[in-house]
Point group: none
Chain length 153, copies 3
């Protein structure tokens, strides 16, 4: 079925946007950019790395969790580039979500656990823009989630 036949089958009527006020995959490549889904922190056994900074997880553990996310992101990235990470031209942008109480303000230090690993592995190509901030919660109660944009050859 075409897009419009599908919409019709689902009984959906599209309208122009109102006046301004305001089952996924692990990665999508568009041109030379790969958009990688948010990866949540997991422990070595694969279980969710649960906790909240400022409550029951300290900055050092948060950094370790962020680093584990970076490793998982690279695993996904390797698959995205057909098994050859040498095709990576630049880690472009990280968005780092740190599960935080309203009082915890060291999201940048937690995120360094990931940022420093990309720098170590990719050198200049690993130097990225980023945003890091505290969120109210993360799926499965994980302490850190990171997504990223990567430029490839």
């Amino acid at each position: 079925m075409s897009v419009y036949e599908q919409l019709k089958a689902l009984d959906i009527t599209l309208t122009p946007p109102a006046a301004p006020v305001a089952a996924y995959v692990m990665y999508v490549q568009s041109g030379n950019l790969i958009f990688i889904s948010g990866h949540i922190a997991r422990k070595a056994d694969g279980s969710p790395w649960v906790g909240q900074l400022g409550k029951n997880i300290g900055t050092e553990e948060g950094q370790a969790a962020a680093r584990s996310v970076a490793v998982a992101l690279m695993g996904t990235l390797q698959e995205a580039v057909g098994g050859d990470l040498n095709k990576v031209r630049r880690i472009v942008k990280l968005t780092s979500l740190v599960n935080s109480t309203p009082d915890y303000t060291d999201q940048h230090l937690v995120t360094n656990g990931a940022s420093e690993l990309f720098g170590q592995v990719f050198g200049d190509a690993g130097k990225h823009a980023r945003a890091a901030f505290g969120v109210a919660q993360i799926p499965l109660g994980c302490c850190v989630e990171i997504d990223m944009v990567v430029e490839v050859a």
Copy 2:
């Protein structure tokens, strides 16, 4: 050192990814990418779909709200491509913000309300990367807000 030499030096073994567990405009196109603004959930009458997951909105209602946001996003997308959604080559990336208490951890399920709809409507082209997480609040008190990036012909 090459990437793999660095990885080895750091004692890192890569594995395949785990299974996927106001004053602005509504969209901007740059090259083949359309960046669509965050759309907040609205009820059928256009009023804000107010509430917070974990407080006064359940997961099932959150999914319905997310689905409504996806419908709104497609309406905006249709305008962005000059009325012909067949020009969509790929839904690239969704960022899903779920208005959450510090205890609510099913943001991924809520977001499926949107993701599954894109899959139904666009088929393979609807398979997108995404990040979903819990935020402290959303404009007008809405329960869900989603923005997205789309590749078009």
Copy 3:
């Protein structure tokens, strides 16, 4: 008026970005897109603009903080384009993170402090897509953080 005539009329002086407080860079260009890191709000003396909307910062002060972030983003952007803001073709997308209590719902009004300035300075090229929402916290306790994507010639 040109970009620089507008800046002069608004009595805005752009400065190069401060060194990152962590392991990342302030911007990365990929093709015609520049991804600028999240910039946190700072006062005129450079100190973090600390506070939370709904707690100890009002909407009007939040707008002033968002405007200050926009000025800082333009300073970084100017460096990213080799000193000539006339190379900017479009402010594509802003993501605005407003440090919010669970009760504060005017993140869109706060963000207008940045969005309106981009419109004043860049005219049509300053009309951007955006997402604005409330986060649990921001590095150093700042009240607002904004990142952005810009298309350049």
